[in-house]
Symmetry: C2
Subunit: 190 residues, 2 copies
DNA sequence: CGATTTTTTGAATCATATCAACGTACGTGG
DNA sequence: CCACGTACGTTGATATGATTCAAAAAATCG
């Protein structure tokens, strides 16, 4: 059972047959470090499942500042979901941090999967539900905690991210400046 | 067409018949100011659509601080979605800010609606999708902006909230202290 | 009306941002 | 494969925005 199969199976029990039917709708793809998976302004044609590597999404605000929204390690999905689902222009960029192997699904295939494989529709609904719930909980925790607490929580829950993702991306994800993260790390090491 | 019907119709075109079938699964309810719709620690048995009034959700962190998560005016849905969908204990409280008329749906009825009225399953999927997308965009905006900018954005997008919801709830929703919001408001009025 | 909650104000403090400079790591072309 | 240029991380000094503690003024509730 490959990563994707395993990952789907965690949420819904899916038969070999259903999975293979779904798999036929997907496309394995390689993406090189720093290459773009989605460009802000385009319509997001695909969502991606990360088999190996890391991708991240961010947006640029009116003042030209970059804000990291999501960091997707192995077994995570990433895209500009709003754009993908609505066919409107993406406001996020999605880019590879490492050379990565991803499995991508087009809008068309996504819809076909939802129509013809009930388990997959259920899977995607759950995926979005969970994403929403996590995001809601993330909001609630952002506010309560200091930058240091947020960083420590990230280290604890995703040690991989801290090891593999450049520090200034992590700073942006935490909502602080790289200089501040550097100082925070200093207080932790001591 | 009542509020709920109109609100559903904005996302999916629903026939009179389908809507009535759905309506039969719901229950109109009154909730008095300050009464709880959901108590932290219980399992959320219902989700609510606000016909008139205002409800809000919040959680209490480890340090005993209250954090407002959502403020639901007319035509919004509110609950502890995670708890409702998973049957685990709610971490949010949901409480009425004004005497409110709400339409509630039990887990059982929700599932029945999803099973028997395809349009309603689609509606709920879209509802959650939108909630997720908004929440993702909210995160991205939290970080970029100062407390003042966040407040101004709220005033602009939801002037009703500012008029009808006590200021210290709004402060909490914005992630700042009531004293700070008071000072921010002073700088705006001048 | 009095009691309680909410909002405002003041002064001191703290966390993070900003501006600037420097050392280090990294990858890219010769 | 090395050297160079660029990107990244660290550090210092200072500025700014928000918090904290405290208390008074204003609004709301029974």
């Amino acid at each position: 059972m490959n990563q994707l199969h395993k990952s789907i199976n965690e949420k819904v029990e899916i038969s070999e047959q259903d999975f293979n039917e779904f798999l036929a709708l997907t496309k394995p793809t390689n993406i090189k470090k720093n290459d773009f998976f989605i460009n802000e302004g385009d319509v997001a044609k695909y969502i991606a499942f990360v088999n190996t590597g890391v991708l991240y999404s961010y947006y640029i605000d009116d003042k030209g500042n970059k804000h990291v929204i999501q960091i997707a390690l192995e077994n995570y999905w990433i895209s500009d979901l709003f754009s993908f689902l609505s066919n409107e222009e993406a406001i996020f960029n999605v880019q590879a941090i490492e050379n990565s192997e991803i499995t991508i699904i087009s809008k068309q295939s996504f819809e076909k999967a939802c129509d013809t494989i009930p388990k997959m529709e259920r899977f995607f609904r759950l995926l979005i539900q969970n994403a929403y719930i996590n995001s809601q909980r993330r909001i609630s925790k952002i506010y309560g905690a200091s930058a240091k607490e947020r960083y420590l929580k990230l280290v604890q829950s995703h040690p991989q991210i801290v090891q593999r993702v450049p520090q200034h991306y992590i700073a942006s994800y935490l909502g602080i400046k790289p200089q501040s993260l550097s100082r925070i790390r200093k207080t932790i090491l001591e």
